[in-house]
């Protein structure tokens, strides 16, 4: 029979559907508006104002839980990393042995060069900017949070202004340059990685002295581009790229000279381009960062 109304068996009294729908819409509407207000405040005044203060306090309260979560996850990550490294262990061993031999030769030559350099600098009373690592103290910190969105190239580390961290402080790993501090709270800081689209660092080729800018690449997170390298300068595959640490009369690079960034993996140039096309494979793996060193200039160098 068409149009016959049949009651479903229900245990309780059914709520008014129109009232329920209204309540539902009001709740979601308020939440969306509140989220938009938070975005506006957070975006316009990220480091001051009531929203920033509340966020700072909440971040401080969440920090122990984030550290606990990171510690719980660490053994699992280690097991995963171990299993992953097994797959490439054989090829890695051969490559590292060859690299070790080359480096051993290079260390001896570098020691002679360093001795000569020291003597010549002393003779000239040469004045230099802060050097890595001698003029910096490294604050070791665990990575306690990562954004859920893959396109956001930030991590949160467990040191903050209470530990001496300042805005724009360079951040490294045991392998090389990682990024810089872009937000500082009392006991935690946000680090923006070099793989971020808005980030670039002046760099130079250790072997040839060619200078340019290293920034994110398009291929993958760990692939960088050594840009603005004039075509007349020589860059070869396998060259090591480090931070340039330039200094002019009023301005200075945020990053000290000599922090390893990566190794050149491809070099090309087109007649129509002004610059060389150089790809660099980062030493620091941006995908799997567990611990970092935040560099703080030593007091006598400030």
């Amino acid at each position: 029979m068409l149009g016959v109304r049949v009651q479903r068996p229900a245990s309780g009294k059914p709520p008014s559907r129109s009232a329920s729908a209204l309540r539902r819409r009001i709740v979601v509407g308020l939440l969306v508006v509140f989220a938009l207000v938070l975005i506006t405040f957070s975006f316009r005044t990220p480091d001051s104002g009531p929203v920033a203060s509340a966020e700072r306090a909440a971040a401080g309260a969440l920090r122990p839980f984030a550290i606990a979560g990171e510690r719980v996850a660490q053994p699992f990550r280690d097991v995963f990393g171990w299993a992953d490294s097994l797959l490439s262990a054989r090829s890695d061993t051969k490559r590292l042995q060859a690299e070790n031999e080359a480096l051993r030769q290079q260390v001896i030559q570098n020691q002679f060069a360093a001795n000569d350099n020291d003597k010549l600098k002393a003779l000239l009373a040469f004045r230099d900017g802060p050097r890595f690592p001698d003029d910096y103290t490294g604050l070791a910190a665990a990575v306690i949070a990562r954004p859920t969105e893959r396109f956001v190239q930030d991590v949160v580390v467990a040191v903050g202004s209470n530990d001496g961290v300042a805005l724009d402080a360079p951040v490294v790993t045991a392998d090389g340059f990682l990024g810089r501090v872009t937000r500082v709270y009392a006991r935690s800081s946000r680090v923006t990685l070099l793989s971020d689209e808005q980030f670039a660092v002046s760099a130079l080729d250790v072997r040839s002295g060619a200078t340019g800018i290293v920034k994110h690449g398009r291929a993958s997170a760990s692939t960088l581009i050594f840009d603005r390298v004039p075509k007349k300068l020589k860059v070869s595959i396998g060259d090591t790229i480090v931070t340039a640490g330039w200094r002019s009369s009023k301005l200075a690079s945020l990053y000290p000279k000599g922090i390893p960034i990566g190794r050149v993996t491809s070099v090309g140039q087109a007649d129509t381009d002004l610059w060389k096309q150089v790809q660099v494979e980062s030493f620091a793996g941006f995908d799997r960062v567990d611990a970092v060193l935040v560099l703080v200039l030593k007091d006598d160098k400030k």
């Binding site: 049949v6 938070l38 893959r150």
Partner: protein, 174 residues
């Protein structure tokens, strides 16, 4: 809602949000990792309805934004809308459908992924479409694989679907 259920949802949400930012976010197989928080939110929305889904999404997003020192409210906005949609889907066409957790998870993953991209772009943040596309297939597969186990786990903790807001009167057409 039963206060006990509310407390259970809050505890689950908090623990999963913390684990998401401190542990699951660093997992990257095939370029992407699981978004367990989103899958949990989908399960809660399906089981408890639109209002609970929206509120849960808002709080979950707030925890993520605070823990990652990101732009406050951004993840909240995305997860509030997602929680609301999933809740409505659970209350209406997804009701008692066995494929609802999987379908809702897939749609939510796509929506949050591209929604996040759009919101970031609107805020003037530089975002690479390639970064999303690289990670997206793996995240989608991860979330789809986790959809049923997480749904069952969440159902065990928060109880079966809430019927209060559902249609109690039907019209027989045969």
């Amino acid at each position: 809602m039963n206060p006990l259920v509310g407390i259970r949802i809050a505890v689950i949400l908090f623990v999963v949000a913390i684990l998401q930012v401190s542990a699951f976010s660093s997992v990257a197989i095939g370029g992407g990792g699981p978004d367990v928080l989103l899958v949990t939110l989908v399960s809660i929305g399906l089981l408890r309805g639109a209002v609970t889904g929206a509120v849960t999404g808002f709080i979950a997003g707030l925890i993520v934004d605070v823990a990652t020192l990101g732009t406050l409210g951004l993840t909240s906005l995305l997860l509030t809308i997602t929680g609301y949609w999933v809740g409505r889907y659970g209350e209406t066409t997804g009701q008692d459908r066995s494929y609802a957790p999987l379908l809702a998870t897939v749609v939510a993953t796509i929506s949050v992924g591209f929604g996040g991209y759009v919101v970031q772009a609107m805020l003037g943040e530089p975002v690479s479409a390639r970064a999303i596309l690289d990670a997206f297939p793996a995240t989608l597969v991860w979330n789809a694989v986790l959809a049923y186990p997480v749904f069952r786990l969440v159902r065990r903790f928060v109880g079966p679907s809430e019927r209060g807001d559902r249609t109690r009167e039907v019209t027989v057409l045969v």
